[in-house]
């Protein structure tokens, strides 16, 4: 719906990809691991590959959690913006469909956080 205003009301999005100096935003959520209070907001290069993303961004972000050491990477169930997703090893994030402000969620069956509380 349009904003009711005294004149025509249009606006520019504040977070367009061109404002990020060649980088883009990517959100990562690890299901059932609320030790991290909210999904991560990461700044990533659209040209990096998925293994690079895993090694340089996701792994360090989740490292404080004891479950992170037990993850079998190939068994992670990924979703990209709510749809099942198979990360391909060699192509860039952008080619994989991971565009600006995408949200990747990872479920790790068998690893559901600590204390039976999704922590």
């Amino acid at each position: 719906m349009a904003v009711k205003a005294i004149s025509e009301y249009t606006a520019e999005p504040k977070d367009k990809v061109e404002n990020f100096n060649g980088m883009q935003l990517l959100y990562i959520c690890w299901h059932k691991h609320l030790m991290f209070c909210a999904p991560f907001a990461l700044l990533v290069s659209p040209n990096m590959t998925f293994p690079e993303l895993w090694e340089t961004q996701i792994k360090p972000a989740i490292a404080p959690h004891p479950d992170s050491a037990k993850i079998a990477v190939e068994k992670i169930q990924w979703e990209l913006n709510g749809k099942a997703f198979e990360p391909n090893q060699d192509t860039s994030l952008l080619e994989l469909g991971i565009d600006h402000k995408s949200m990747l969620t990872m479920a790790t069956p068998g690893l559901n956080g600590l204390y039976d509380a999704g922590f």
């Binding site: 005294i6 100096n21 991290f36 991560f40 600590l114 999704g118």
Partner: protein, 509 residues
């Protein structure tokens, strides 16, 4: 009206709000009050505006001046007697830091808001009421800062509250709340602030802070609270009058007002999540739990209110049930968030002491021991090993309320209630269905949101690293204002005041 020699109050009010007004003769009314129509609100008769207090300017000056005189006498006495030494615990001051940087600037924003809309109504009664409330809000902002300024001499983190309000990541939550209201039309502003905030929710802000101050020996802040109480009562009554006035003027106003109530109830509820954590975690002497406060001040009072408004065709706010169910969770989720981002706050955070954890378990029998106690015990164990947990990444923020996406689904406290939507090929993320709906109703407004995390990544907040953002852009004194209370200069100073020797490491909460 025929003037007698000495006017009574009612006559004075009549003069001020009706007889001093006039019908324009050579300008169109719509040119003089250009913002009165665009929201779709129809006012048939401005004389229907009843100000229950009928306050006139001279009476206003007189009351407020007397109150102010007493207030500042107590501030002086508080400072001369080193009143800060009599508070319950050094940790208490952190709730003042949150208040000073989060709430006092909102009083100032409210002043600006009322001053602005006080120009926009063609009804003189409404203009006068808004102008007086504008002056109240300005006074509250000033007196709050004066009440707390004494603490700035003795504790860290209080030195630059207005700048922090404009820049610090979590303070964009209160700031954007008022920006949203102030950039709306005048009738939406009144529904947002006078009704939804002042009438429906303000007890949840003021009672915890002012009773919290009383329970924790903070006489300066308590005295401010007393001084503001009569103003708040006036604002609340006005809030209710405004909503009834709008609803009585025209039936077409009902769906518009309902939509605003739905929106601003939720916006206020999200804002108050900061208060929930203050009540349950930051007050060393607890007043009541957030859940109890919510039950008394929203479920009971709000229930009666919306029953009363039913005859106008108004129903309770759309997402009220979600808010009610969340009362067992939000304070714990908020404190977990601030604890793990305690490197990036202008106040200290800590693990609650054992008796505090027990109090929380007693107050939250359904949620605390199952979901939240384990996390605090986990972090406590790490802290005792010297590995205090700080989250090294930045969080995803809600595009509307700007709180990190930390809230959980009503039926599953282990799953975030994240939502997203695509508008003009750009994706947006939200903490909840309700915030997503607010966005969908006015996307052009919220795509402009100044989200602190994204601004940091765009390079607009200094840097390149996080410590330089915190020190250079937020004006934090690193190692003094931020991090855990345990080991902080504040703690050291408090222990010196009280003659407490540093505790054995194992006893440190």
């Amino acid at each position: 009206m025929t003037a007698t020699k000495k006017l009574n109050l009612k006559q004075k009010y009549q003069y001020l709000t009706r007889d001093m007004d006039w019908e324009p003769s050579y300008q169109k009314k719509s040119d003089i009050f250009p913002q009165e129509d665009f929201e779709g609100i129809k006012i048939v008769d401005w004389d229907g505006w009843e100000d229950p207090f009928r306050l006139t300017m001279d009476a206003y000056w007189k009351y407020q001046a007397e109150k102010e005189k007493k207030l500042y006498a107590i501030f002086d006495a508080f400072a001369q007697n080193n009143g800060h030494q009599n508070i319950s615990d050094g940790r208490y001051v952190n709730s003042l830091k949150l208040f000073l940087s989060g709430v006092s600037p909102l009083e100032y924003a409210a002043f600006q808001g009322y001053a602005k809309v006080g120009r926009q109504f063609s009804g003189a009664g409404a203009r006068v009421a808004c102008q007086m409330q504008a002056i109240d809000e300005l006074r509250h902002s000033q007196t709050q800062q004066h009440a707390m300024s004494h603490y700035n001499k003795h504790f860290n983190g209080l030195h630059d509250a207005p700048l922090m309000h404009d820049r610090v990541w979590f303070l964009s939550v209160p700031k954007s709340f008022f920006d949203d209201a102030r950039s709306a039309g005048p009738f939406e502003f009144l529904t947002a602030i006078s009704f939804s905030f002042e009438y429906v929710l303000t007890n949840l802000l003021f009672v915890p802070f002012m009773s919290g101050a009383a329970y924790n020996g903070d006489m300066a802040t308590v005295t401010f609270g007393f001084s503001a109480q009569s103003d708040e009562a006036r604002h609340m009554t006005l809030g209710l009058e405004i909503i009834k006035f709008l609803l009585e003027q025209h039936e077409d106003n009902v769906p518009i007002v309902q939509k605003w109530i739905d929106k601003w109830f939720w916006r206020g509820f999200r804002l108050l999540s900061l208060v929930s954590m203050m009540m349950d975690y930051m007050l060393p002497n607890k007043v009541m739990s957030w859940q109890e406060a919510w039950e008394v001040y929203y479920e009971q009072s709000g229930g009666a209110l919306f029953k009363d408004l039913e005859r106008y065709g108004i129903r309770p706010p759309k997402y009220q049930d979600v808010a009610n169910a969340a009362k067992e969770h939000i304070s714990h989720q908020l404190w977990s968030t601030f604890y793990q981002y305690g490197q990036a706050t202008n106040f200290h955070t800590w693990i609650p002491k054992k008796e505090e954890l027990d109090w929380l378990a007693e107050k939250y029998p359904n949620s605390f021991d199952k979901y939240y106690r384990p996390r605090f015990e986990h972090w406590d164990a790490l802290q005792k090993k010297g590995e205090r947990f700080y989250n090294p990444t930045l969080p995803q923020l809600c595009q509307v309320c700007q709180v990190p996406v930390l809230f959980t689904e009503t039926d599953d406290p282990t799953a975030f209630s994240h939502r997203d939507t695509v508008y003009k090929e750009e994706r947006y993320h939200f903490c909840s269905e309700a915030c997503c709906e607010i966005f969908d109703n006015e996307p052009e407004k919220y795509i402009q949101a100044w989200l602190p995390v994204h601004q940091i990544y765009q390079g607009n907040c200094g840097g390149p690293d996080l410590p330089s953002v915190l020190s250079d852009y937020y004006h934090f004194n690193l190692g003094e204002d931020n991090l855990d209370f345990s080991g902080s200069p504040d703690e050291k100073r408090w222990n010196e005041i009280k003659g407490i020797k540093p505790l054995d490491k194992d006893d440190v909460a």
